[in-house]
């Protein structure tokens, strides 16, 4: 069967079609048809081979033409890598061909012929096993590229094409010299046999190998000798760039991979170094690009640099090398093609011009898929590839720690520019959207590429060890919900709630005994149900909301279910994607969503690095237990993991994303993001701290730092909250403060500390849930989050007021509600663990919380009712239902704090067997003090009720009055808004301690950004746009590399 698809047909089909095309050059429809047929044929061949290899039935096919031995004939080999690569190249070739149909038909049969030859050349470069063949096909590809460029007939393209041709000619010379040397010394050019004979040939052979390697490296456009290649991307049509980037690069890369063994891997460090430099430098340069195609060009080159690193470290990566390279290559080829296709549709080449995509949401989705795939988010192949790469780099006998760190740093920069661009497209305010040329015919190519990418993702995930397929079930569910996105919101809501509930029912028996897991599962999943419940308020479609919300919850669930660190990381990244898309739904959320995503990625890379060290210590085992007792640089590993999780708890220093991101989110999303999502960070911290323990010497310092981070988060978060004008931002800052308590409690590594942390995790979920729903609901109802535009709403929204009142009493820790128990344990902890200085700041922070709490409830609900709010009704019933459910839980826990704290305490006794709280009923006793929740409640409620009754018995003539019946110095207030004290509420406080809330941290991050941008600006000056300079770069590059490398041959 496979024999029918002899690889030689690539050349046959290509040449035959090209020949036919010249015959039918005046029948444009027919000729285009022939071209498509030929391209399809090529794809069919490669697919057939790929399918047989994937099915395990394939055999490696060797082909020699015309009975001659190479180099006089063509020698092809079709193995698994060739099958995969030709499949990619042919696919992109076909898609580009379809995409370019209009242009190709217009330019005529000759262009079509050149196009076919181009695709054929690329395929042949992959297939051939002969050096001279390789050279020939390389030339064919170069010339065909330039040919098409000329045929596209733009002025710049002629200029660029000329530079390109000269440059590639120059490189060909280097290659040809190398081949000549090789043939002279070894008498053969067959790659498979060449290697031994060349090594035996001594110095001449070495020079040959170096020159050949160098030539292919140059073809891959290494930094800085790549000016000639970059210009190509700006002047070629996007679809052609897609082919060059995806196809040409893959082919050349594989050619290099074939050549390297020839030199017995003597140049792998060169390749790795070139790759590393190219990767980092390209990403930095891309940061400052404003031209979308140029940016894509740099990004492509950067990706190739990363692939070169993979190639250079073949030895360290061992048999996983091919998996990593394939994962990266597939993702790169497909997602870059998608981006290039879209770039053709967008008329404005600047990054901001991509806002045009909003005219066609499907393109936005494709853009998102491509961007997330390029950065290596799950479920795309690059996620697994990057995971393996980092793990193996750090995990070998000699860990390449710096290199892996650089790879992650480069990826982070890539994420910066890609997502900045993406957020422009999503959210940048535009007076009138730029034009978009997107006929349906042009959608075929990118959509197909995306589908193939999805298929590849699924397939790759099956190849990974330590990753359970069950994690794909939620993803499938999400896809299902995404498919029915056109239905009204309520129906999707019902489906989503049903899905989550089913999941809970399925999960519960599995985690029933494990209280720690139960707590977080409860927060994540019960929280999910509650937020989705509040989602019923939405009338309309709410396009895109449900898939993303479910993605987040799937990620959170994966964290709980994870058995390996890979699964944990998968969940973590999935959650990041989902939450990012939820957070950017707000109106002004663009910059904040971006900073959220970047901090998320930074944090997750930090976690990834820590995980890789853990796995290295455990000898490559990636079970969750490998986090315990890390043997490779444990202090660094744990610190990095903690740092990564701290970005999600938004602790001070890495908190700057939170106020904006949460402050601009819609009500129920705010609830998800703050009451639920932040707990993921807490869960991560708990996981790491449990693994780390506090025995080792270094842990003392880590915990000390962590404790102070928590304490300062609490203090500065609370102070800043008091200065906010927007109620939602106020709550966001308050979350920073509250999470500070949790972090501090965890850092104490003691029974009571963890009791506080876990207790807070639960209660924070409860009262913050109420606050977010209430405040968010009000902001939604009246269309602004600013408190000075509210006021007097108690008259209009008594139910919300009551819920908020209970919530803030709980938050502030005033007895008799449940918040007090946390304060009580805090005092016990401070004294019993001697955490006097941290503890003192924590206590002060708790008192400062009164400032913002009163401000919020007063300026929103009390004071003067504004005219435009006179008729506003209660917030949606769908917000009130979850609010009151949470409220009931708070009241129950207030009466019986032991129902929450006692089981947690019992569970913690397993971890920290030291002294604990002794419970008798609702009375808790420690070695220091005691409190009785129920008794306090009885006494206070009793006094209150008695006093109220007594007061009512006084029976006065009571007159209910309205808002202006106030003493106003004998005058009448003129307008409600002038008598409502709200703006700059704590002016005096700001005057006294405002310096503490100065955005020092923000300044630090601004400076970091500035420096990176300055570096980027400096580096990119080498690209003058002058062809001669570019050629000079190449020559200089060759000379320098030759001198450096040949130093070893003397």
């Amino acid at each position: 069967m496979v024999a029918m698809f002899n690889p030689i047909y690539f050349v046959v089909a290509g040449l035959a079609a090209a020949f036919l095309l010249t015959l039918f050059h005046n029948r444009e429809r027919l000729s285009y048809f022939i071209m498509i047929i030929a391209l399809s044929l090529m794809m069919l061949i490669s697919l057939a081979h790929l399918a047989s290899f994937l099915a395990g039935t394939g055999e490696i096919v060797q082909v020699f033409t015309a009975g001659f031995a190479p180099p006089f004939s063509i020698n092809f080999q079709m193995g698994p890598p060739e099958a995969l690569l030709t499949a990619i190249v042919s696919l992109v070739g076909l898609l580009s061909g379809i995409y370019l149909s209009e242009q190709l038909r217009k330019t005529g049969a000759y262009a079509q012929a050149v196009y076919i030859v181009l695709v054929m050349g690329m395929n042949a470069m992959i297939l051939t096993r002969d050096l001279f063949n390789l050279f020939v096909f390389l030339e064919i590809v170069s010339i065909a590229t330039v040919g098409i460029l000329f045929l596209s007939r733009s002025r710049t393209s002629v200029n660029t094409g000329f530079t390109y041709m000269v440059a590639s000619g120059l490189i060909s010379v280097v290659l040809l010299i190398g081949i000549v040397f090789a043939y002279m010394n070894a008498g053969s050019l067959n790659i498979d046999t060449l290697s031994e004979s060349l090594v035996m040939a001594g110095r001449g052979g070495s020079i040959a190998v170096l020159l050949i390697t160098l030539a292919f490296l140059l073809e891959l456009k290494p930094f800085p000798a790549n000016g000639w290649g970059i210009d190509l991307y700006t002047s070629a049509p996007g679809a052609l760039s897609a082919l060059i980037s995806a196809g040409g690069m893959s082919a050349t890369y594989y050619a290099l991979a074939k050549v390297l063994p020839v030199g017995q891997w003597s140049h792998d460090s060169l390749v790795a170094a070139v790759g590393g430099i190219t990767f980092i430098a390209s990403q930095i340069i891309a940061l400052k690009q404003d031209d979308s195609r140029r940016l894509l060009g740099y990004s492509s080159i950067g990706q190739i640099g990363l692939l070169l690193v993979v190639l250079g470290f073949s030895e360290a990566l061992g048999d996983r090398r091919d998996f990593i390279a394939a994962g990266l290559l597939i993702t790169h080829a497909l997602s870059k093609s998608i981006l290039f296709y879209i770039s053709d549709m967008v008329q404005d080449d600047s990054l901001r011009g991509w806002a045009a995509l909003r005219r066609k949401p499907v393109l936005l989705v494709l853009f998102g898929v491509a961007a997330f795939a390029l950065i290596g988010f799950p479920p795309f192949p690059s996620f697994f590839a990057k995971w393996d790469l980092i793990l193996l780099l750090n995990g070998g006998t000699e860990g390449y720690y710096l290199l892996s760190a650089m790879v992650l740093a480069g990826s982070l920069i890539e994420a910066v520019y890609l997502f900045r661009w993406f957020s422009y497209a999503l959210k940048l305010p535009h007076e009138d959207l730029p034009e978009l040329a997107s006929p349906t015919s042009r959608l075929i190519a990118p959509v197909t590429a995306a589908l193939v990418l999805a298929g590849a993702s699924w397939y790759v995930s099956t190849l990974v060890s330590g990753f359970s397929q069950s994690f794909l079930i939620p993803v499938a569910f999400i896809l299902l919900v995404a498919v029915i996105d056109r239905l009204p919101a309520w129906s999707k809501n019902v489906i989503s709630i049903a899905g989550v509930s089913l999941y809970i029912a399925d999960l519960y028996p599995r985690i029933a005994g494990d209280l720690m897991t139960m707590i977080f599962a409860g927060i994540f999943l019960v929280g999910a149900v509650l937020t989705l419940l509040s989602g019923f308020y939405y009338k309309g479609r709410r396009a895109g909301f449900y898939p993303m919300a479910l993605t987040m919850f799937a990620g959170l669930a994966a964290l709980i279910e994870a058995a390996t660190i890979l699964e944990f990381f998968w969940g973590w990244e999935l959650m990041a994607i989902g939450s990012y898309f939820l957070l950017i739904r707000g109106k002004k959320s663009m910059p904040h969503g971006l900073s959220y995503l970047l901090f998320s990625i930074g944090g997750s890379y930090s976690i990834l690095y820590g995980f890789s060290l853990a796995a290295a210590g455990a000898g490559g085992v990636i079970a969750m237990s490998s986090l315990v007792g890390i043997s490779v640089m444990p202090a660094l590993a744990y610190s990095l993991m903690l740092l990564g999780f701290l970005t999600k708890t938004a602790s001070i220093g890495v908190h700057i994303w939170l106020p904006g991101a949460h402050g601009e989110a819609v009500a129920d999303i705010h609830f998800m993001a703050s009451a639920i999502l932040l707990k993921a960070g807490v869960f991560g911290l708990i996981t790491v701290l449990l693994a780390m323990g506090s025995e080792a010497g270094y842990t003392r310092w880590i915990l000390l730092a962590l404790g102070w981070i928590g304490v300062l988060s609490a203090l500065l978060g609370n102070i800043s909250a008091a200065f906010q004008e927007s109620a939602k931002r106020l709550l966001a800052w308050s979350s920073i403060g509250q999470l500070g308590y949790i972090v501090w409690g965890l850092a104490s590594m003691s029974h009571l500390g963890w009791l506080i942390a876990l207790g807070y995790s639960v209660t924070h979920f409860l009262y913050k849930g109420i606050l977010f729903l209430a405040i968010g609901g009000i902001a939604l109802k009246i269309g602004t989050p600013y408190m000075y535009k509210m006021g007097g709403l108690i008259k209009r929204m008594p139910y919300s007021f009551f819920a908020v009142l209970i919530a803030i009493i709980t938050l502030s820790g005033v007895p008799p509600l449940v918040g007090f128990s946390a304060k009580w344990i805090t005092y016990n902890l401070i004294i019993s663990e001697q955490l006097y200085y941290q503890g003192f700041v924590i206590l002060i922070a708790g008192i400062i919380a009164f400032l913002y709490l009163f401000r919020m409830i007063y300026t929103v609900f009390l004071g003067q009712l504004k005219d435009n709010l006179r008729s506003v009704g209660e917030i949606s019933i769908w917000f009130r239902i979850p609010m009151y459910l949470l409220l009931i839980v708070i009241l129950v826990l207030s009466f019986l704090p032991n129902t929450l704290l006692r089981p947690i305490g019992d569970m913690l006794s397993g971890i920290f067997p030291e002294e604990a709280i002794v419970w008798t009923g609702s009375r808790g006793v420690t070695s220091l003090g005691y409190f009785d929740g129920a008794m306090i409640m009885y006494v206070i409620v009793g006094i209150f009720v008695i006093l109220t009754i007594l007061f009512l018995l006084l029976r006065k003539q009571t007159q209910k009055v309205k808002q202006f019946n106030i003493f106003y110095s004998g005058e009448a207030p003129s307008r409600p808004e002038l008598s409502h004290f709200s703006y700059n509420f704590f002016a005096h406080y700001r005057k006294a301690v405002g310096a503490l809330a100065l955005p020092l941290v923000t300044g630090f991050w601004d400076r970091v950004t500035e420096i990176i941008h300055a570096v980027s600006d400096f580096i990119r000056r080498i690209y003058t746009g002058n062809g001669q300079t570019y050629l000079f770069h190449i020559v200089l590059y060759v000379v320098v590399v030759f001198l450096v490398q040949s130093g070893g041959y003397r």
Partner: protein, 219 residues
């Protein structure tokens, strides 16, 4: 002529939900209930508890610290060591909500009259009014002014007048003692009289405050 007090005329305000809200400030911002006579006033004879209450009221007189005319200067010595009205249970409060005695210290122009009426009505009952000086009695030297009232008792129920131009602090103390006596005797019912003859007082007030731009009773 057009009035400046446009903020009290009806207006249409766009609501946050796209609706239009008609705001009638007098109706929507203010309570328009009419004051009621107290139960104590209706009783024929004061009960023993009422007597005790009246004693307490008389021994704890809180004055609204508000000066309408030149007489305000004569109130200050009462707080100084020389006269020290505190020893007689007299104190000053900054808000009418917590005051029992309104001292109208001198002439009242139309503008101050309006403020005095508001302040008086905002005081909790029982409440007392003391008029100081000729101006409050018969207009004094402003008897022929076109915008100064002549007789305070046509506008507010005055309990005690203290004559003089201006009366000296000693006279004020004397007036206060008289007031205390009246309260003890159960005659301090100014607020009830005001409620009883509400229409008459309002008519008088509205006669001169022609652009009446406040609710009939400022609670």
């Amino acid at each position: 002529m057009r009035s400046n007090d446009d903020f009290l005329s009806k207006k249409i305000v766009p609501g946050v939900e796209g609706d239009e809200i008609e705001v009638d400030p007098i109706r929507d911002y203010y309570c328009d209930a009419v004051p009621q006579v107290s139960r104590e006033y209706k009783r024929a004879y004061p009960s023993i508890i009422d007597r005790f209450k009246n004693w307490a009221r008389s021994e704890s007189i809180w004055i609204l610290a508000y000066g309408s005319g030149c007489g305000a200067i004569e109130m200050r010595p009462l707080m100084t060591p020389k006269y020290d009205a505190y020893q007689y249970g007299i104190q000053w409060r900054p808000t009418p909500r917590q005051a029992n005695l309104l001292m109208v210290s001198g002439y009242l122009s139309l503008k101050t009259l309006r403020i005095v009426i508001r302040a008086y009505e905002q005081m909790p009952s029982p409440k007392y009014v003391m008029g100081l000086g000729s101006c409050t009695i018969n207009g004094g030297m402003y008897y022929d002014s076109y915008n100064t009232i002549n007789r305070l008792d046509y506008y507010l129920p005055v309990d005690v007048y203290v004559a003089g131009c201006m009366p000296r602090p000693e006279s004020l103390l004397d007036g206060l003692e008289l007031l205390k006596k009246l309260i003890r005797e159960g005659k301090g019912h100014g607020a009830d009289i005001y409620a009883e003859k509400f229409e008459w007082y309002k008519a008088n007030q509205k006669k001169i405050l022609k652009s009446w731009n406040m609710p009939d009773y400022s609670w």
